[in-house]
Symmetry: D2
């Protein structure tokens, strides 16, 4: 429920109403607004109705939040959220460029890959210490040792870092080493993980599941926000369709659609979205052209030797060229790089 106070409501009316909402067992929300005081209340619709807030003398209007997601919705929070990842803003006019190898393999491999990415303009480092793999016999990351390397390289280069967490049992360790936690596509509806990561006090990058409708994705973000975390970045990384020429079908429709429904920032991952190195640069340009707040790109110092995702990882020179061609496109849509 969104509650707009009357222009001449007394100064303490917001606090009074939030108290009434809380006393009824509902979740009260204070929503920053420039012109009017706007409050929110989440919970059982029948209790909300019994409160009869619309007949309170200080209330001008009450309207329901129509979307199934509430905290995530632009109805409740009209202004864009800017997420701070270790000092780098994601969501404002400057594009966020998250780059790095699929996995932490060795200190040298990570440093070389990260340095190359940073030299070309990447502002946030990505690399996995815990890797979800379809087969139990695939390389699944170095775990804690990978986290240590990741932090060291990030600190050496002065880059904040985002990395995936796959198990509630690992959240503390990952949060100790990373500036933002990633929920992978296959865990988008791992609700236990969402609740626990939401409570971990770190920004979260939430990848869209390969079979997730946009509404389900925003409800997964709602899990994070409902657990107290308002620093959520969405990441479109392709959906599963009948097309087999590409690894996934990058659903760029989702970018402007999501931006119309939520205040959260969205970045595009053309690496997983295509699975083919040569398609990454054009799809990165396309993602920015349709309004993404940033990119997440796999760059490896030596892709043919990569332990995972080599086929979709850019060579450093390709990434440098991508950044060069991206600049005028970003400018054309009013973004800086």
């Amino acid at each position: 429920m969104i509650i707009v106070l009357s222009p001449n409501a007394p100064a303490d009316s917001a606090e009074r109403l939030l108290g009434r909402i809380k006393d009824a067992g509902l979740q009260p929300l204070h929503m920053p607004g420039t012109e009017r005081v706007v409050l929110g209340a989440l919970g059982d619709e029948r209790i909300l109705a019994e409160l009869a807030l619309d007949s309170d003398p200080d209330v001008e209007s009450v309207k329901p939040i129509l979307a199934p997601y509430k905290l995530v919705s632009r109805e409740l929070h009209p202004h864009d959220t800017v997420v701070d990842v270790g000092g780098v803003p994601v969501g404002g006019s400057a594009l966020a460029v998250i780059a790095g190898p699929c996995a932490v393999e060795t200190q040298d491999q990570l440093f070389a890959s990260a340095k190359a990415a940073q030299d070309s303009g990447a502002t946030i480092l990505r690399a996995g210490a815990y890797k979800p793999r379809t087969s139990p016999y695939g390389f699944s990351g170095h775990g804690p040792a990978g986290l240590t390397i990741l932090r060291e390289v990030a600190d050496d280069l002065g880059m904040p870092v985002v990395t995936e967490v796959m198990d509630t049992a690992d959240i503390d360790a990952v949060a100790d080493h990373a500036d933002a936690l990633q929920i992978g596509a296959r865990n988008m509806q791992n609700f236990a993980l969402l609740r626990a990561v939401g409570a971990a006090g770190r920004p979260v990058l939430l990848k869209r599941g390969p079979a997730a409708k946009i509404e389900e994705w925003l409800l997964a973000a709602e899990y994070l926000m409902a657990a107290g975390n308002d620093q959520v970045i969405l990441c479109e990384r392709g959906i599963r369709t009948f097309e087999t020429a590409t690894r996934n079908t990058l659903d760029l429709n989702a970018v402007p659609y999501v931006k119309s429904k939520t205040h959260l920032p969205i970045v595009v991952d053309p690496s997983h979205g295509t699975g083919i190195r040569d398609l990454v640069p054009p799809m990165a340009l396309a993602g920015v052209a349709c309004g993404a707040d940033g990119l997440m790109v796999e760059v490896h110092c030596n892709p043919p030797k990569a332990l995972s995702d080599g086929a979709q990882s850019l060579f450093p020179a390709q990434f440098a060229e991508l950044m060069r061609t991206l600049r005028p496109v970003a400018a054309a849509v009013g973004r800086t790089l």
Copy 2:
């Protein structure tokens, strides 16, 4: 690698060869066979090659396991596995009928639903204490209290019980109360959960993810088996397609296909597979007709009052009628009920 010993190999050759395999850092497997002694070896292909087992005098032939899944494959294990769920076999000639409500709501609701199911022929009880819900505001189960009710009702009726576990942190509690653990569709590629459940010492029912290819599903089962669990039941519950008339598209093609590829039993869940109560009985018959080893059906004592999945839950009388019509179909394909 599958290693077939010579007919005249000495009695201790199996042990000797398994020792060589183990010493090389590979996983040795002793595979029961009626005519020949057959061994298996899993691990790095190059090390396997170096062992040169095919030149061992006691070895008749060595062939690779072509499927990406190994322990799950019929190549390695030609005979059907029968899983024992608290004394009820799943996978033999008798069909397993797993039934019960979506969720544990109250002791009375569960008892009434389970009793009705059992009276009509259900042999294993299902009900969720932990419910994955798309929205954080949906009913997500009673957790530990639900487990207690579940065990009590199951014991009262003398039924074994299967129930979902969603978080590695809950595995012990669920394993203490249930005869088999369910991995839900949305967690099919929650690899941390798969590894931990695989090590929990309980039979596992592994639902197919809504966007999982059959090969990925069998690889998820491989995670369970690689963690030491050979008591795995597969459950086809519908995939996500463009069709919106039904909740999911029940992929019955998967039943005979899976049975040709793996020795593990497979059951069909027509409740989630259709999402529409009236479609459950015909699709249950179809599932059995094409070779499923059992069914998993939602039955609720009062579906219109169900806290979740009411639209796809059968009324007790519908379930009774389903069991009645199922009997001749089962007989027609050589199964008992």
Copy 3:
């Protein structure tokens, strides 16, 4: 609009009302009913409203047809339609078994294949003289010469025949040689073809398009019926999904769903629905178990030599075995074979 007359309406009231409907520029329908006289009216909803049929003294009630398809809907026509294909009923208690090779290759090949199918119980012959092929360089059928062979073999064996027509220009030729015309999956929304075939005066077998929602499929059938043809058979042959282990995903959910929505008969094609020979028999059983009115199966006298669809064509002995195992399943669901 469905118009139910009062029990005591005069005998000529139906005629009078149909006249009013026709004069208003709408399509009048006389619907056979055992207890009440029921009329239908199709056309512009506003004109229907202006007619105010519900205030006519002989009318008991007027209700809209909610489905977007009208003539196809069970709302308008509650009783099952039985289509007559050259003397063989499709839609009654006896299962229709349509079998034969993918394509007419030679007189010998067709005769051998058809004879084998008939000997095992097939009642209608299928084979294509015009073959839709993904590549322009594939074998696309013998055209008119194929039609001649098809008719000769069918007459020799005393079987009616169904064959595909792909072009409005060929309808007359095909209708001269076949007992029923098939609209192929890729032409399901070839609306020019639907209109012309609907007017051709032959029963039609309408395959579901690989990406067609059930509602779109029923609307394609509505095209046929709106063109004056009430002899329409639906054929589920699999939809396109992300799964690549099988050629298509046979959507058997569609069988009971379609039967609840329409009076038209539905048959299942497990050959295209799976694309894999060994999956055809179990899926044929499943199709019958969930309520299909018949089967359409590819049988070839020598599948490895087939010019098209060899991998999914049954050997004659496999088809014979399928018919043998089908009999008790059919009996179990109250159908005869």
Copy 4:
């Protein structure tokens, strides 16, 4: 088969070899090349092998065309094809902007819509006289009368026009009135139509089918080219997926992928690709950013009154704004508008 002649092959060797190819019953192709003489041969692989062209003294090398499509492939024809639509090039550095209403409704509606589109920069007019509609009761276009209006308006404004043809029987009439013929998405595998349109002597715009893999789409284009037409424009208009928030999922991955495989130009239709007016402009920018050779956009003088596709048609002011924002994006990727 691609045949490269030796640098010192005599001048008449090409003619001689083409003669040998033709005499063997194969299709000979003379492919323009700047440095070397390159020939092609299409047909039965075994006959090609028997010709033993690689042992001809004037031949340097012979290599197979690996793609299933041949004439369409870049292997055979490395340079970009530029299609001429009534004087407007599609495929060069200048972006083609095809715009207009979904359907020809009236002369006034078409003129107002086309004029607005042209004033903002559209270079080719689109509008349908024959409209494929899911329901037989929908507005299906004015047919021949619509063609007349279309031609008149196009001539008044000096714009070439592209319009859909749905039936082989209508091809002559449509070709008489249009500068290019459109094959609609639902007819992409209407092979009779493809063959006939391929022979009609007009450029063709071939929409991708909603469930067509890229390879199938290129094979549909091969049908057109094999029928003698080398003026083919591909149009990506969205595919059918599980996502229901948008009408289709615009598959922009297909743009750079297709351009790597074929020499044919490709345009993007963000109107059908999204189905939502407000998503059209950002997706148009994205389409150009990833390399499309043009756009196809629905613009209507009064979308709320449109007889079809109103929800996805731009208001004239929106289209003007789109053209304004498109200009710098086009420039950023080296295209002119």
